[in-house]
Each structure stands twice: as C-alpha cells, then as structure tokens.
Amino acid sequence: MSVWMLVSPLLMLGLGGLLVMLVDAFVDEKAELPILTAILLAVAGGVAAAGIVNYDNVALAGAPEYLTRYLAFDRFALFFDVVVCGGAALSALLAGGYLREHDLERGEFYILIIYAALGAMVLGHAIDLLTIFIGLETMSLGAYAMVAFRRTSARAVEGAVKYFLLGSFAAAILLFGSALLYGATGHTDLAGIGEAIEGGNASIKLVLMAMFMMIVGLAFKVSAVPFHMWTPDAYEGAVTPATTFMSVAVKSAAFAVMVRVLLTVFGDDLSASAASGWPPVIAGLAAITMVYGNLAAIGQSSVKRMLAYSSVAHAGYAMVGVVAAFRVEEIAVSSVLFYLMAYTVGNVLTFGALIWFGSNGREAVSYEDLAGAGRRHPLVALPFVIGVLTLMGFPPTAGFFAKYYVFNAAVQAGGGMIWLAIIGVLSSAVGAYYYLRVIVFLFMKEPQPGAPIAIPMRSGYVAFVMIIAGYFVMKMGITPGPYLDLAMSAAEQFVS
C-alpha cells in the first residue's frame, strides 16, 4: 500500500468539501446535505481506521519528502483522524435534525464542519510549527463562524465575538512562542527543535519563554482554567451541533498538538521533569481546571452551560494524562487517547439527547425545561441518562474506563502525580452532583404549572446518532480492550 492511502482522508475532506459546496449550489433547498457530509466524513474516518489496521503494510519509505516534512503519517495522527472524523460526522447528523427543527438550515454549516474537521486533522498530523499554525487557524475560523451561525441571537453573537477575540490572542501568543523557538534553534520542524534543545544548542531563556507561550496558546484551545473564560459563553450561544463539534473535534485536535509539542519539542531532561519545565505547569493547570470546572458547573441553571463547564473539567482530567506522559510515556499517552475517544462519544450522546428534547424552535436548555420529561418520553431520556453517566464516569460506561486509565497513568508516574489523581477522583465525585441532577429532573420532578413542556423532535438523524453514540459508549465500557489496544498502538509508535 502506498502512503497515499494515509493521505487520502485529508484529500477526501479537502475535495469533498468542494463537492458538497457544488451540490449545495445546484440542488434544491430540501437536499439531504447532512447525509452527504456524514458519509464523506465517515468514509474518511474509515479509511484512516483501515490505515491504522494495515499500518505495517504501508510503504512509508517511499513517501515524497515535501509531504513528510510537514505532516506525519503515524498511527497517532491516524488515530486523531478517526476521532475527529467520527465526532464531526455525528455532529453533522445532529445538525441535520437540529437546524431543520429550528429553521436554521443552510448549507454553509456542513461545509464549515468539513473544513474545520480538515483543520483539526491537519493538527493531528502536524510536525512543523507552520502546519500547526495553519491547521489551528483553519479549525478555529470554522469554529468561530459556527458559533456565530445563529446571527439573530444576541447570545450567539456575544459568544462568537468573545471566542474570536480571545482565540485570536491565543493564536498570536502561540505564534510568538513559535517565533521564539525558531529564533532559538533555527528550526521549524518539531523534531529539529527538540534535537537542538536536547543538544544544548538553544538559549534556555528563550526556550522557556517559548514553552510558556506555547502552553498558554494550547491551554486556551483545550479551555483549561484560567484560559476558559470564553467556553461557557461560546458553548451556550452556539447552535448545539456546533457546541458538540467544538467540544469533541476541536478539543481532541488541541490535545493532539499539546501531546506532540510537549513530548517532541520539550522532551529533554530539563524541560520534562518533576521539578522543572512543563510537567509542574501542566499539573497545576490540570488541578485547578478539574476543581474549578466541577465547582462552577454546580451553580448553573442551564444544562447547556453546565455541560460547557463539564467540558472544562474534562479537559482537566485529560491533562492529568498529559502530565503523566513525562514519566510513563506509553501508558499516559494511550490513556489520553482513550479518554478523548470515550469523551467524544459520551459528549455526542449527551448533547444529542439535549438536542432531541427541543422541537419547533424551542430548545430544552435549563434543568426546568427537562422536568418530568423522562417520564413522558422514557425512550428519549435513555440516551441522556447514559450520556450523563458516562460523563460522570459511572461503570460500565466508556467514561469509567477513560477516567480509570488517566488516573492510573498518574499513579504509575508516582511522586506528586498521585496527588493529582486524588484531586481528580475527588473532583469527579463533586461532578456526580450536577450530572445526577439531570436524571433527578428528568424523572423525579414535575414541570411548574403553566411552564412550557419540552416536546422531543422527530428526527431520524438524531435518533440514528443516539444509537451509534450509545452503542460505542456501552461497548467501550464493557469491552474496553480493543479500544485501549488501538490507543496503545497509536501511543507506542509515537513515543518511540
């Protein structure tokens, strides 16, 4: 097999996006763009998955130099192709139900999803500061536009402006850090920078400044505290499928870059140790992110906003795995990968269930909207229950093993990391309060007299997504082995 098979997911999205645009222009307004988009993304993800399985048969040696210079085609990158494409395909299908029901259906949304997913995939492949920045911008520009998609809503515009301004600053800071790295080492490729730093050929002061700035820029993208300010507003203001996309694909891609940059560029003994360099910084960020994310989520009256804070908290859990990577690389990186995969399906399930409970221009947003809805529509409430349970980390769902592997990695790393695992377990116990509150409202409360009652929409798209996401949540919770092996193989190759 030639290397082009591994390139083809990227090419498919690039060319397929153009195709969807053409289709949108020439067919009538009732066209089934969500299906077309989802099939495109699913095929691209499937090809990437096939690439992982048959990876040993790929003739990587014959890959043209202009390709491998900027993009890596390792299992790590392909793993993120699968996760991003999967999350984006499910978000596109959710959009097919949501946008139609709320009279927002316009073809641009699907094209934005395709190209933002392309940017996210490029981030997974990027091994050069240049491609990292371009991928980041492609992905972020798509996400900004998706947040502002419902432009008549003041909330959406507020969220989009905050996200756009802060995101631009974060990108600028990342770029500043990249420039300092280039100035210190004369390289833009991550491996070259890493070698120069390890060989002691770079000014330590500059490298430290650059590390600081790269971490700030990336922490913004994964919405770690204290760079999370935009998250609740952008997540709440955006149309829910866009929120889903941001919380799964954008976040996963940002973690891909974070892991790759920290381990390849700053992998030397001085930059990656328990006492100096990035591990203490990321550990501190992870700790406050977990604690703050969970505490802030308790006070919310809107479920969507609660889920936004919950996604902040989840970034904290995943960062625990990232820190542990400085000592137990393989176990830690694979735990982060598994976490992101489990989080993707769990979040799609929860946001999808929230979408399902809205109909006819009226969304279910607050806890009150959901009061008693579970007893009236038990079948619709089922995915919601499974979704919050997996986000909570309740066995036997995917979320349980995801948390278990991440905290296990921290314990394996030992030292101060054990404290991080303890903070993680305690704060996820706090999280149980607001996740269970959803179930309490669904089944044990009655709506206030006279309050509008949530009526679920009738959409085959949303129902289909619920089945797929629910299946994977349960499957990864009952037999996590194959998925962990997949994450392991991706991490293995990346580490060596």
């Binding site: 996006g17 307004e29 993009l71 316009r106 371009i134 536009a145 400044m209």
Partner: protein
Amino acid sequence: MSTSNFVLFLVSGGLAIVGAIGTVASRKPLRAAVALLLHIIALAALYLTLHAELLAALQLLVYAGAIVVLFVFVIMLIGPAAEVPSNPRGKITRLLSLVVGGSVMATVSFALVGHTAPRLPMLRNEAGENIFGTVEGMGVAIYQQALVPFELVSAALLVAIIGAIAIARSRTPQEQAVVVERQAERIELAAARDAELAQATAKVGS
C-alpha cells in the same frame, strides 16, 4: 549588519511599534486604520533589512494597497464619526493589565538580550546562486518546499470566506419558502398529536 542597515532597522522597527500601538489605542476607527498603514509600511521596510525584497513589495501591494483600503471603505460605510466608547473597566483592572503586560514584555526582552540567532544556510538554486528573497526563491520556497502548507492555507482562506458568508448572508426566497413549508408541516403534526392525546385522555376519563 552594516550601520545604514542598522539605522534602517531602528527607524522602521520603532515606527512599526508606534503604528501597532496607534492601531489598538486610538478611539477613532479611521485613525486606527491609518496607524495600521504606518505599521504595515514599517514592516515592509523591516523585510527590506532582511533582504526579502519581493516580500516587502507584496506586503505593500496586498496589505497597504488592498486591505487597508478595504478597511477604510468599511469605516466610511459605517460612518467615520463612529467612536469606540471609553474603556468601561476600572482603574485597578487597567493598572493590573499594564503590570502583567509590562512584565511579560520585560521577560521576553530579558530572554532576547545578547541572543544571536543561529546562522542558517541560504536558499540556493541549482547553479549555486543565493536566491533568497527573489521571485525565484519565493517560488522554490512556496511551490517546492512548502507545497503542503501552501495548499492548506487555501483551505484556511476558503473556510474564512465560507464563514463570512454564513454569518452575513440572509435567506434566499427559496430557502424561506422551504422554512415556511416545514413550519406548516410541524404545526400539522403537533395538532394531530394533540388530537390523539385528547382522544386518549377522553378514553381514560370515560
């Protein structure tokens, strides 16, 4: 670096900083646009000190010639008198941000003092001539070395265009018709459901 080059660097670098501060600090949008123009021209001069002549020319053509003009058009469309309201934040917040920003700047400057950038090999063509900064060099850099990032940039620009359209465009009459049709369908559906419910309730009641 020769003395004349150094003087050019100091002057254009200083002007670039002045322009950048003017862009973000001035309250009148038109003044900000003109300060941006100053910044862009000074940046082009900085490129000249680095022997990137083609890049300097392109910078002037694209940014000064096209983008700033577009900005000015938009400002004129909105009305040049439009003013940004004064900063609503308190004095303490502003002071704090000044301190934080200043300390970051001081740290970066401290890290940069005495640092000499590593010497990199020049870009050469097959005949061995130095082609850095020329049209040929730019062509080699973009279309041979950085072909992949170049293609990816086109995706980034495309997504920006589509995003702008998605935010700015309103519905076409055909799309509006579909929306109205779907609304009618849903109202029918809801009415049918209500009738069903009423029937069921009546049955239970009797």
